[in-house]
Symmetry: C2
């Protein structure tokens, strides 16, 4: 059956041994109060509350799904109560701005909590994830009056946010949206009219009010994406007293029937001259929305990680219990009718694959989180700038690579179960279904790859990649442990590969934009592999230091860490060779075939 | 929405241009009557009947599923009528033994029809697939009396077969089965007692009788797999008149709730001193069952292929209609608000990935089918022996590689849709769910890989691989077309790689059986890639010959074939480099970590 404990030992390793969170926090004014003890208490309590409140609702929520009746959406049994408990525990405002009632915890800590949310109940996790992103957007772009009214409620989990972008005819290409915003006679508000689809948490029964952030076009809007504005449209209008009052003209038209995340209400939303407030400047809505989208992109990456982790733990529970055949070198459990399947090399190979992705992903998410904290809190401009470059470069990689690998992890974990993995009761198949959406929404992984090679690579002629490679090379020069020279050698080789491929691609794509599209997904994959390899080097050094320093206390943990890292280096990293060759294959072979020849011709 | 036409043009290309089916058939006494016209008529009518009868029931069957009520199973609406129509059309006996009412069509032809079955409705396809395998088993191992009674009914689709192997505590390790067979006092029949799970078509409402082939142990059975016997246990006892009479003591205890193939009844079956007849010799049941299992393994491979094809066609329909963003070099459809997404290099890359797997898989299935026909029909012993070696070697590869690639294909096709791919109504997500099981049942793909490296490689010290490589090298020496020298060079290199890796593995595994397990899945993957590359060379030569020979009639088809083949060679085949390195990584790193360290330690 499904099994999960938050991987606190590994989270602490990443925070403390690899990223030296304590030293980092104490050095930045905004995080100086985050002591290691406080951080640890938050992780412990986060692990407890997600395990106790959310994990038991995961399979039942999938089986039941959300209900729609005449515009009202009911979440699965128990969701509402769990939401209340988490809200009362302060979990909806964990990273929020303290000026408006948030707890101001650093991202390096909140990503660990997000992983627990997604691992225990991905459908549920999406409600706080959207809320956190919406609050972040308002904190960046709204007026103080709006912030004072909305943020404390959102941090308290009394009202929850939603993100309304997609319309039936457009998702990726938001320049095509048809939703209109017309100024009301009050001179202050706008009448928003249009239909949005795939709105996560667009309507539900968990809270009194829903804070919709809606993209729409003003009457004088320029064509395309430069004519999009952003509006706050509450489900219930908020009076001068700050309380939710009469209903706004926002109607849920129905729910999507989906492959997974069935406890998450994916809504069709109709805005019928609904009252909204402009957030930020007219026509600058997409840029503002990106504050939220970038947050969600990392968050969705963590969805992949969380699902990979719970899938791993559950599969290992099965592999320890299931008896089938004998170990290759003779019985491992001679007193039983067969050996636990974990004795088989191929089962161990699958397990190590999953684990190498998960632990690499955990370090990757933490690294990006650390950069986000530096952007926000670090006193030195140079550090902030470097961190900003890394965040820009790695956000699409975090979204796409972590979700691709998360999906692979759930599929590989499902395979460990044999036929049981296909039967609903064991839970493994739900993880696959729930993980699949993460590669699609929040910008498909193909779109992330285009963002990477376009905005984040070509537009600045590789400056961000140069920044990343300088960091890696700096580590290669300064970090030293004879025992992990195999890691170092691999990273050396892969950093060279990424540099070489980058230079070639920039040259080839000059005046030939189709070259970027043809290389995008493979280039993102290559970048992901290289960064994971580098992070595995950092982890290996930390694990080796742990082994050298502390006797037997953490010995098993550190030895396992090194074994998993070597599995990554020897069994997974070799794929980069193929990725380099695939990138080099270029656009021409993709573009020469006629469109018609892609179609079926009987 | 879902879209499918049987790929008759490509099927004809494979049959006629690549494998010269007509010449082959006319040269073998058992197939001499299969004229190209007859073959073509069968393909055409097969395409029509599956499209008209099965395809419309695919999504509705998934939504409705099977029903269980007090031991009775009802299939989804329309299944029973479709079964009747196909049965009356003779489709259940297409490859059956003509002595007992079958039509004796060669496998090279029936695999094409099987692909159509799986493409249009995988859940439905499993009923005839199990029946065909059961009939094949009886034809090989049953007495003439049993064959005369059962085969005509099974070929007519009046009775259908099932395959009862797995028990709750064992699937892979059949030596552990507990089902018992005790001789009855009549001296002729046996009383079968035990429970079986995951029995596809174990109970349903489509026909009057179900012919269960059941593995059980006789009282004096030796331990393990050498003590398994095979029994025919009909749902209703068959009288001397050959008619189904009183019910046997066979009870369906329930249905599994599964990720997909929801229209396929996956049953728990209880045999309560049910009357059965021994098939073949006592204790030799597993060997006899392998006649059926080997059939099913190729068939399940074709499930992957069929689903990959329907997923491709449906995705291309979407990609042609969906307008989003502009082509990288400027508008392709300037009069429309955006371009069809097929203009984007990354969408084309995904499309070509899927297509390269599908077309390679179609050729692979046909190649194995041709060898099966030679084993059965060819007059020369040497040819039969070579074909038998190739069938033995390639059956696990066909099962695992085609289903792995079929799953990849459905996932990649789903990605083309963006968010629509995750919504049930578009059908793309069902293909993913239906394809996932093919990697698990009929022996997981890990078990197929163990069969490959153990029985089919190590046990004969690589003799079968040597046979395959000789065939490939023979082609490299004799086939010549300057225009496809790039294909030839790639195959040359990959054949060398497979030879090198095989030699190394055989040496390393000597006395170290865990080395086989550690290499198994990667070795199977490598073999699959190499065989596909070789078949792509054969296809490229046939396409080039077509281009050279026939002017413009088939020009577009042949040019596309070459383009897809080059996509395979340049974009997909490079993975073999990593596979070689992964195989070389060996068993030790997998085996050194303690079992406990695989478990979660908080």
């Amino acid at each position: 059956m499904a099994s999960y404990q938050a991987p606190l030992r590994d989270m602490r390793f990443v925070l403390n041994d690899v990223f030296r969170a304590g030293e980092e926090w104490v050095a930045m004014p905004g995080t100086a109060e985050v002591t290691p003890d406080l951080a640890d208490a938050i992780l412990e309590e986060g692990a407890r509350v997600t395990w106790a409140e959310l994990f038991p609702l995961n399979q039942s929520g999938d089986a039941e799904g959300c209900h729609f009746d005449a515009g009202r959406v009911t979440t699965p049994k128990g969701f509402k109560e769990a939401q209340r408990t988490l809200a009362e525990g302060g979990w909806f405002g964990l990273g929020g701005n303290p000026e408006y009632g948030g707890q101001g915890m650093p991202k390096l800590l909140t990503v660990a909590f997000e992983e627990m949310l997604y691992a225990t109940n991905t459908s549920f996790a999406l409600y706080p994830a959207l809320n956190t992103g919406a609050a972040l957007l308002l904190d960046h772009h709204a007026t103080d009056a709006i912030k004072r009214t909305y943020l404390p409620r959102m941090y308290a989990g009394e009202w929850l946010g939603s993100m309304c972008l997609t319309e039936p005819h457009c998702g990726t290409d938001l320049g095509l949206i048809k939703t209109r915003a017309v100024p009301n006679v009050d001179g202050d508000t706008y009448a928003i009219t249009g239909s949005k689809i795939w709105i996560t948490g667009g309507e539900h029964d968990m809270v009194d009010n829903i804070v919709h952030l809606v993209l729409a076009k003003l009457p004088d809007a320029p064509e395309g994406t430069r004519g999009i504005s952003l509006f706050l449209v509450p489900k219930r209008k908020v009076g001068a007293d700050g309380e939710a009052g009469e209903p706004n003209s926002v109607v849920c038209g129905g729910l999507e029937h989906k492959m997974g995340i069935k406890g998450s209400a994916t809504c069709v939303m109709h805005f019928e001259a609904a009252e909204g407030m402009l957030i930020g400047e007219p026509h600058q809505g997409l840029a503002a929305m990106f504050t939220m989208m970038n947050y969600e992109r990392l968050s969705i990456g963590i969805q992949g990680l969380g699902l990979g982790e719970v899938a791993y733990q559950s599969a290992m529970d099965f592999a320890r219990e299931r008896l089938q055949s004998r170990a290759p070198n003779g019985p491992a459990a001679p007193d039983r009718p067969a050996d636990p399947i974990l004795v088989h090399p191929d089962v161990r190979r699958m397990a190590l694959n999953v684990r190498a992705w998960n632990e690499g992903g955990r370090a990757f998410a933490a690294f990006v989180a650390q950069q986000l904290d530096r952007v926000k809190f670090h006193p030195e401009e140079g550090v902030r700038d470097e961190a900003q470059a890394l965040v820009a470069l790695l956000t699409p990689v975090a979204k796409a690579f972590l979700t691709d690998r998360g999906f692979d992890a759930t599929v590989e974990a499902q395979q460990v179960y044999g036929g049981n993995g296909y039967c609903v009761e064991w839970g493994a198949e739900q993880y696959v279904r729930d993980a699949r959406i993460a590669m699609i929404y929040e910008g498909t992984n193909g779109i992330q790859a285009m963002d990477l090679v376009g905005r984040k690579l070509f537009r600045n002629r590789g400056a961000y990649v140069t920044c990343l490679l300088a960091l890696i090379r700096g580590d290669l020069e300064t970090l030293d442990k004879q025992e992990v020279s195999d890691f170092k050698q691999a990273v050396q080789q892969e950093a060279e590969r990424l540099g070489r491929v980058t230079d070639e691609l920039l040259e080839r794509a000059d005046g030939r934009p189709e070259e970027l599209g043809a290389a995008a997904v493979d280039y993102l994959n290559l970048t992901g592999h290289v960064v994971y390899a580098w992070l595995w080097l950092k982890m290996a050094i930390a694990a080796q230091a742990g082994l050298d320093g502390q006797g037997t206390a953490g010995e098993r943990f550190y030895r396992s860490k090194l074994a998993v890292g070597r599995h990554f280096i020897n069994r997974m990293l070799p794929r980069t060779e193929a990725l380099e060759r695939q990138i080099r294959a270029g656009a021409k072979p993709l573009m020469t075939m006629d469109d018609e020849d892609f179609m079926f011709t009987g």
